[in-house]
């Protein structure tokens, strides 16, 4: 039977014959709500033909019971009272569809998240509330209409936003599966934060040595179109059919002809702090190559500091520099979008955490990373900012901007490990130095991480379990950190030459901007929220949009790479199928009631409504089914399917009962 026949068939059915199933979800619901009572009550409601309790409605046996009941009792509508439709509605819709019922004649009532879990100590009230919710659902169920979901074609191209290590992995994986990938990066080079790091834990191998070849691979891959120094301006459309406007910021250098020779850089007279790559340590010119291993290895002009002298233009043999270049926009069409826009390191300056910003010799972990990096501004020689001398006594303070109610409550997960790594690197380079790590807890899960911690202890790095109370500066620039060792209850005044704050990760401004453009949910920690914390860790609630790497929350390199691959696998499902199913919920116009006032047209943010030939026309492919326009309609000519006034009012009116 095809869809249309099913719709016709169900419409012609005389009376609603509703089957009600109350799920116990083990003890999740059954431990609080008396499910048998609720099922018995449901049996007394109009149009309910059968009602029963399921131990686990979503399990194979639970679904079989539903299908059996449909057949035995000739049911034409099903109501399941269980958990949340946000995770389980698709499962039950598919189940009733297999039994020949239109999936939109399935009604879901939430008696777990919205009842048993929030009234755990009020069993009687919870049971009463579950009965109310089921009654509301039964009356709504009787009003439901069959609908048809739409199948849409999928453009077989992907967009990956952010070319850090996670995004690069996603792009490479999708490209290797044979699909075109647009990889958009806001910075002039790909590589992300990993390119700035010196070594990586727990193997202490050089970061750029393992990242560099991957960056080159990205640039060489024929299926990847790299768009560096570019940002996402606008995204519209829906799964399979996203239209994206990408703004290419004026680089003032022709990527095709520039050879990255650096002659222009030598001639440029303007020097400014290198904030972009070296955390403000050392300088760069107004025209600069981001870093020696940059991909693409091309210069870029920072017009905000350029003095228009034209020295670079004269120096360039290949005539690649155009100081008058302007931003350009390109429009691309893609089927899926993966966001790997990354993070910022927590900035302790505004709140002067542990004297950062007040005292020269308090630096962040990222600044240390650049200071000990062999290709960094000091060529790997560790010096302290105040007098450029190599520090003999270095201290690390953990959990700065993490696990702190004043800033961020969450654990940034990688700071323990990077502090252990940096402490080891200092100890290796300067064996005479004293290195201290002040911590609340050290967190070292995953393979070889605990062993890495052991190695740090064996090297003589000293661990003090305590959060420092104060940091002061001596006249010679040394720091005094007062900390209680909570294992010995001794208060120590620690004299240090250099103090490093192990700062955590925060959601970056660009991550937030993209989140708002795409309308991905925001988690309480500010990062993007996944569709399900366990079962859909890289999906979002929006079909065709995926999140990976630190966009979703703080994580280290191996975890980011895994998520990058996971995003590729999840996204490519759409590309390989070539089609996607979209919701059947849209709006419909009743021409007899419509007075052609046009109020609805102004409400629609998707331009799905128009007045043509004296008729309001709905373009179903554009309508996203929010229903906002139907509220504006003065004659109720516009109705949102599945959320019609009658359907909603059936629920509202049945919140209440007459008491005898």
């Amino acid at each position: 039977m095809d869809q249309e026949e099913i719709i016709k068939d169900t419409k012609d059915a005389d009376e609603p014959r509703i089957g009600v199933f109350i799920c116990e979800c083990g003890v999740n619901i059954g431990g609080v709500v008396n499910c048998q009572d609720v099922a018995d009550y449901a049996g007394t409601l109009p149009n309910v033909v059968s009602s029963a309790v399921n131990k686990y409605a979503c399990s194979d046996s639970g679904q079989s019971e539903i299908k059996k009941a449909i057949e035995e009792n000739d049911l034409n509508r099903i109501l399941v009272a269980a958990c949340t439709p946000k995770t389980h509605e698709p499962i039950f819709r598919a189940c009733v569809e297999e039994a020949g019922i239109n999936p939109y004649l399935f009604e879901f009532v939430n008696i777990r998240e919205h009842c048993s879990w929030i009234h755990m100590k009020e069993q009687e009230k919870a049971t009463k509330k579950a009965q109310d919710l089921v009654r509301m659902g039964v009356f709504r169920s009787a009003q439901l209409d069959p609908l048809q979901s739409n199948e849409v074609p999928v453009t077989d191209k992907a967009l990956v936003i952010g070319a850090g290590v996670a995004g690069m992995q996603t792009a490479l994986d999708i490209a290797d599966m044979g699909y075109k990938v647009y990889l958009v990066e806001k910075n002039p080079s790909i590589g992300g934060k990993m390119a700035q790091l010196d070594k990586t834990f727990p193997t202490n191998d050089c970061s750029i040595c393992i990242l560099g070849p991957k960056m080159v691979e990205v640039a060489r891959n024929k299926n990847i179109e790299l768009m560096t120094y570019s940002e996402i301006d606008e995204v519209d459309g829906y799964v399979g059919n996203f239209n994206v406007k990408v703004r290419h910021k004026a680089r003032h250098v022709d990527l095709g002809t520039c050879t990255g020779c650096g002659l222009c850089v030598d001639k440029c007279p303007v020097e400014v702090p290198n904030v972009e790559f070296n955390e403000g340590i050392g300088t760069r010119k107004a025209i600069y190559v981001p870093f020696p291993q940059a991909v693409p290895l091309r210069a870029v002009v920072d017009r905000s500091v350029c003095i228009d002298c034209g020295a670079c233009v004269k120096a360039c043999n290949s005539k690649s520099i155009d100081l008058d270049q302007e931003d350009s926009i390109s429009e691309i069409e893609v089927g899926v979008i993966v966001v790997t826009a990354g993070f910022d390191v927590y900035d302790p300056e505004p709140t002067n955490d542990y004297g950062y910003g007040l005292y020269d010799n308090v630096i962040t972990g990222m600044e240390l990373e650049r200071l000990i990096n062999a290709s960094g501004p000091t060529m790997g020689k560790l010096v302290r900012p105040s007098d450029v001398k190599t520090p003999k006594r270095v201290g690390f303070i953990q959990c700065v901007g993490s696990r702190d109610k004043k800033s961020n409550r969450y654990c940034s997960s990688f700071c323990c490990m990077y502090a252990l790594k940096d402490a080891q690197l200092i100890k290796e380079k300067y064996p005479d130095s004293e290195v201290y790590i002040m911590y609340m807890d050290l967190r070292t899960p995953f393979r070889n991480y605990e062993e890495f911690y052991d190695r740090a202890r064996d090297m003589g790095i000293k661990f003090i379990r305590g959060k420092p109370g104060s940091v002061t500066e001596k006249d010679n620039g040394d720091m005094v950190v007062r900390v209680e060792d909570t294992l010995t209850t001794e208060v120590i005044d620690l004299d240090l030459d250099l103090l490093v704050l192990s700062v955590g990760a925060v959601s970056s401004e660009s991550n937030e901007r993209i989140r708002q453009i795409l309308k991905v949910s925001r988690a309480a920690d500010g990062f993007m929220m996944e569709a399900h914390p366990k079962l859909k860790p890289v999906d979002t609630t929006l079909d065709g949009i995926f999140i990976g790497g630190v966009s979703q929350g703080p994580k280290d390199i191996p975890y980011s790479v895994s998520q990058g691959s996971a995003c590729a696998a999840r996204a490519t499902r759409y590309l390989s199928q070539g089609k996607a199913i979209t919701e059947g919920i849209t709006v419909d116009v009743n021409d007899d009631l419509c007075v052609r006032c046009g109020m609805c047209i102004t409400m629609c943010p998707f331009q799905a409504l128009s007045l043509e030939d004296d008729k309001v026309n709905v373009i179903k492919a554009l309508c996203k089914g929010c229903g906002t326009c139907s509220v504006a309609c003065p004659t109720s000519a516009l109705e949102q399917s599945h959320f019609k006034n009658d359907q909603l009012l059936a629920q509202v009116r049945n919140v209440f009962t007459f008491e005898e």
Binding site: E113, H114, V631, F643, V652
Partner: protein, 143 residues
Amino acid sequence: MADRKEWEPKIVAFCCNWCSYGGADTAGMGRFQQPASVRVVRVMCSGRIDPLHVFNAFLEGADAVLVTGCHLGDCHYVNGNYKTEVRYQFLEELMIEMGLEPERLHLSWISASEGEKFASFVNKVTTEVKKLGPSPLKPEGVN
């Protein structure tokens, strides 16, 4: 009518599918305990909440109505919640016309991750409404 001390108000909460319904789910997942006063009606967008639905809830016997949706700027449908805000202002004015205390109508933007916020919102409104007592519009004999 039941004893005032025992009396549990009935509150109708309109929640949008993407944010506040998810917020209510998150409250459940975090086991944030709440009074059993709220009955959630799910809509796709808070912009779908018709003043008609809110009036009906009051006329049928709601002691309070909660209008909830995504934070401004976070609407899944671009700007549905801005329209909600405008309609809410209209509703607020009509509360007085209908002879209802303004404390019986609330608007809150709750994201899908803000379970704790959803729970404390429900707790706060329930406490307030308990002080006010049953709605003057509640038909006799209705619970």
